[in-house]
Amino acid sequence: MSERQDVRKTYKLLINGAFPRSESGRSYEVLTSGGDFLANVAQGSRKDVRDAVSAARAAQPAWWAASAYNRGQVVYRLAEMAESRRAELAEHVALAEGLKERSAAAQVSLAIDRIVWYAGWCDKVTQVLGGANPVAGPFFNFSLPTPSGVVAVIAPQDSSLVGFVDTVLAPIVVGNTVVALASERRPTPAVLLGEMSVTSDFPAGLLNIVTGITAELAPTVATHEDIDGLDLEGVDHDVANDLAALGAESIKRVLRPRAKGEGSPLARLRAFVETSTVWHTIGQ
């Protein structure tokens, strides 16, 4: 009797709610932190990024039009799905980040709790960031936070799950849709979370994940005319400078990489929010 062979998984992109291989047909080897072969992961191309942007743009109006209560439930559902797959996430965080079992589990707990925290923001940001303005004259004047639109996130390279959750959910809970470039060397926790998002009521196109070589894909998101915001968390300082300059061409909102602990969580929520002000006449 021969020993049972395990069924290995192909790690694919997440674009518009589906899991394509890269249109380029390329893949690249991802290793564990110990240097062993972990998986062949789809190596996304510029075309994949453009497809992801189209999907994100198409999904954005409906995501923003959904009630805040509904959006909160969709995000909370992701926490439920992640909770039931803790072991799998922890295994991949351990392999990717070289953590002991217990530390990896703690990272997963942190990530799931963070998802819950973000879920609660969906129906709070309007009141926290908006308000009524006491203008002189017969007008009712109010300001509301509205989404910038489509946000490209270059997710952190080191923090494969918690960092991914932070950078991706902050723009999502304020109404944006997202194209995320996962950590180049540690992509599998993000890929898993992407799979969970599809089974947790995330509408197609809300979260798109492209795995691959960051240096190859980042200039594409920085120059893409239909991307409104750019989170550069996952690149180093010098590269961030270059990408921020490219983003200037279409006046993108750019969030630069931060030192650890710098800035409040609210700053991340504000980064891809526009203040929309409405004046309405008051009269008989």
Partner: protein, 491 residues
Amino acid sequence: MTDVDDRGLSNSSLGSLGYDAAPESASIARLRESYGLFIDGRFSDPTSQEQFASLNPATEETLAMVSQASSADVDRAVGAARRAYDSTWSTMSGAERSKYLFRIARLIQERARELAVVETLDNGKPIRESRDIDIPLAAAHFFYYAGWADKLEYAGFGERPASLGVAGQIIPWNFPLLMAAWKLAPALAAGNTCVLKPAETTPLSALVLAEILQQAELPEGVVNIVTGDGSVGAALVEHPGVNKIAFTGSTEVGRIIQRATASSEKKLTLELGGKGANIVFEDAPIDEMIEGIIDGIFFNQGHVCCAGSRLLVQESIADEVLRRLIRRVEQLRVGDPMDKNTDVGAINSAAQLARIEELTAYGALEGATRYTSSCTLPERGYWFAPTVFADVSQSHRIAREEIFGPVLSVLTFRTPEEAVAKANNTNYGLACGVWSEKGSRSLWVAQRLRAGVVWANTYNRFDPSSPFGGMRESGFGREGGRHGLEAYLNV
């Protein structure tokens, strides 16, 4: 649109009525012959000794000679601002900063008439507007932000919001003093010191403001004002001692500034161009709506980044709106900005006039129907008669590019969905108007417009408590209100 040429004058008794001139006195301006750079609390000569003339665009006469700053002067100004930041302004309590700002607001009110005259002489805008809008609003901005200086911890940016340091502020020529107030008041309230660069063609009211800052005994170096051409702004943007750049101007220059600051830690806010849509539904109150359209595009000669330069009118009322609009345009009094009865003043500069003429030439070339007011224009100075283009389509240059002049492009729509789609069909996203008696429809439209400001049944309203600023290529960051503080805080 058969009635384009019907000027409606036969129906109007106003056509035959004349007005006597009611000029404001230019001597109220008390302008000096020449102005130095305002650095470290004093006026001083520029290192180059170079000066240039600031002209009255209505007469092309020189009003005063103004200094051309060099990069060495910018360096001096930034140095003064840094010393003031370190030694006084950043260590002073918010309550004390607050009192300085209240004092400045009061001084602007006291010298309001003089400032209004200076503004109209230097800019070309009607005295009615500088007197009733620019100057009172400038004072109101200082008054509003004065009250924030000692309450920053309650502004919603955390318990201990910190100032940034030295702010470099570059402002346009369309609302010279008001833009200075929009920039300086929140920056100072938040605890920053400033180097302000007024526009090349309209530096004078900022220099009078410098005198006011002296009268307010604002500590030396807290505000520095460097005049000159675009090279001064560029030097300020590039200066390593500046922590923050705030720019109001064209999207073209905004792009250059964003690129230039990309590799620095400078915080940036941009208030750029626009191509605002004024959306008119068939149930709108027609008299108010016509006035709103007129105010939306001809206020300040259309030199307004948030101007309602595209009129989107529902097809069912398009003919009537156009006819009434043209009749109203014909009644606009164009001419001497110092005349209290003037509605439309002078174009700010020869360069801007050339740009307006170039873009409007495309209007007819691309097939739009042009109507231009038959008003008589003065012989000297820079003038452009109020103009309306009908039969404009979305691909026309006059529907896509910011003209920044008294030129309105009229397009039509049938359904609210089409109105929203057309309004959003631009790379800009600064301001829009919506006219309807139905509040639910106005709010439905407002919710879908990608614009930082939406006016419902009104247009071109401004208030210090109301955040102003754009989406998309109209820039980022807000001026006004609690939101306006964020631009000057390390949060």
